[in-house]
């Protein structure tokens, strides 16, 4: 992998969140406020895989989305190292955040957001083509990764909308790993996979760590977590929601 002028800082940090608060305000539910977490600090360095842990509903997925930039923190900073510079994901210009996601910050979501009509092979090759890799080479790498993840070759030319849950997840994993970004966020990447394919994903994660990627993941499967995580980051239970006083409703 070649990321041009990337010069990682000496401490190897790739992703950092500081003073992170998240409160959802539901304007159409009488302004109810759902606090998720407050004052959260997280730093992730190259070669680390941090497993987010805590009870269901404690905000693991919310934190992941704040780290990717599709949730806005109520206060605090999320910064990713992009081409040698720290980029604030929430105050940075949209085009810089898009560029950072292409080059520096990958995300394997739990579910595939299907794009109508786009064949599986193109979907997986797309992140590479967006980095300027030529069609042939991007397609070859996509084929290799789909093969490794045991996605049957007869499916490669079809859009994944009608695939089984496990097949869709493996397409999603392939799409998430192919560009080999220096930071990867993994939201339950093995949730609907059988034993054999779970092991393939574990190997992909270990390989990413070995090449110096910084990873943050949610792994409900304890075996997977033990195999891939270098440490855990525990989130406490979310505080109770607060309602506006009746005078304001």
């Amino acid at each position: 992998m070649n990321h041009g002028n990337t010069s990682a800082p000496a401490d190897g940090l790739r992703l950092r969140a500081s003073g992170l608060d998240k409160v959802f305000v539901l304007h159409h539910q009488h302004g109810v406020q759902l606090p998720v977490f407050a004052g959260l600090h997280l730093q992730v360095a190259a070669g680390e895989c941090v497993a987010l842990t805590g009870p269901s509903g404690c905000g693991k997925s919310t934190l992941m989305r704040c780290l990717y930039g599709n949730y806005a923190p109520s206060s605090g900073l999320v910064e990713v190292l992009h081409q040698g510079q720290w980029l604030d994901l929430h105050r940075g210009a949209a085009r810089q955040v898009i560029a950072a996601r292409r080059h520096s910050l990958g995300h394997v979501t739990q579910f595939l957001r299907a794009i109508p009509r786009v064949p599986t092979l193109d979907l997986v090759a797309e992140p590479l083509r967006r980095l300027g890799v030529d069609d042939t080479s991007a397609s070859e790498q996509a084929q290799a990764l789909l093969g490794r993840l045991n996605v049957p070759q007869r499916l490669w030319s079809l859009p994944p909308a009608t695939f089984s849950g496990g097949e869709q997840q493996r397409v999603n994993v392939a799409r998430g790993f192919i560009a080999a970004q220096p930071v990867l966020l993994l939201d339950e990447p093995t949730a609907s996979l059988d034993e054999r394919n779970r092991q393939v994903v574990v190997d992909l994660i270990l390989q990413a760590r070995a090449r110096g990627a910084a990873l943050v993941g949610i792994f409900h499967d304890a075996e997977v977590r033990q195999a891939v995580a270098t440490r855990t980051f525990e989130l406490g239970a979310a505080p109770a929601p607060t309602f506006r006083s009746p005078a304001h409703v």
Binding site: V25, L26, H27, H28, R65, G69, N70, Y71, A72, A94, R95, V97, I98, I115, P116, R117, V118, R130
Partner: protein
């Protein structure tokens, strides 16, 4: 740092009588960016599109656009209001595109498909019949139209084919900025998906900047990196498309997002 903005919109507004159809809209657009403007009917989004594309004169504010350098004008951002009408027209016909919701409004229905595609090239002074026809064929194929139908009139095409023909007609001069007004909403759902996929690959492969007006949040999600949400003529929320749709902040955006039926 050099200023590489393609379009800069500052405080743009338009009123009809005492009512402001849209007001105080400001944003910048960079080359290759796709921006969606969403909102319900009457929110002012189509008025805004018409102001930006110089189809309707604005009552306040200014739009600057990065002109291509030529013999008479240096490149870089120019206030569009300072350009002559002839220059504005040329800009709209060459460096811009405008895809109408109803393809009949954007096509000449009485001339052939090929002539529709080639018209903008003729505006630029190309006269060689063979070369014009060749480029028209090339663009028909790029939008997945059967080249054998180059001599047919658009009236013989289906709605989805007409929309693809309109897109080819707009892209033939390699514009850098394309305005689209609800480009898929007049079409059957099955045809919409195909057109969206085509638009998505064309904008990416050609590095087109686009401003797409749509009431359909799924269209915004698929095509645009950024979006503006409009209500009563004002922008109430702006940001990365997935941030606005996944974690809407403004009450109106929350209402829009929570009102969508997901099959």
């Amino acid at each position: 740092m050099t200023d590489d903005r393609l379009l800069s919109v500052q405080g743009v507004g338009k009123h009809y009588g005492a009512r402001w159809a849209c007001r105080d809209v400001s944003f910048d657009l960079w080359p290759g960016e796709v921006l969606a403007i969403v909102g319900e009917s009457g929110s002012g989004k189509s008025t805004l599109l018409n102001l930006l594309s110089l189809r309707t004169p604005m009552d306040e504010g200014a739009v600057h656009y990065a002109l291509r350098a030529d013999g008479n004008t240096p490149g870089g951002l120019h206030n569009l209001a300072t350009l002559s009408e002839a220059r504005q027209r040329l800009l709209a016909r060459t460096d811009w595109g405008f895809v109408e919701q109803n393809p009949r409004d954007g096509l000449r229905m009485a001339v052939s498909a090929g002539a529709n595609v080639a018209e903008r090239l003729m505006v630029l002074g190309q006269e060689h019949y063979g070369r014009l026809r060749c480029q028209a064929l090339d663009w028909m194929q790029r939008v997945e139209l059967d080249g054998h139908r180059i001599d047919e009139r658009p009236t013989q095409f289906s709605g989805g084919m007409q929309q693809r023909l309109q897109i080819a007609r707009n892209l033939v001069t390699r514009p850098r900025l394309v305005f689209m007004d609800e480009p898929t909403s007049g079409l059957d759902v099955s045809v919409q998906a195909r057109l969206l996929d085509l638009l998505r690959s064309l904008t990416e492969n050609l590095g087109l900047a686009c401003i797409v007006v749509t009431h359909d949040l799924a269209v915004a999600r698929l095509l645009a990196q950024r979006m503006l949400v409009m209500k009563d003529g004002s922008v109430v929320e702006a940001g990365l498309t997935d941030r606005v749709l996944d974690d809407p902040q403004h009450p109106y955006t929350q209402l829009l997002v929570s009102s969508v039926l997901t099959p």
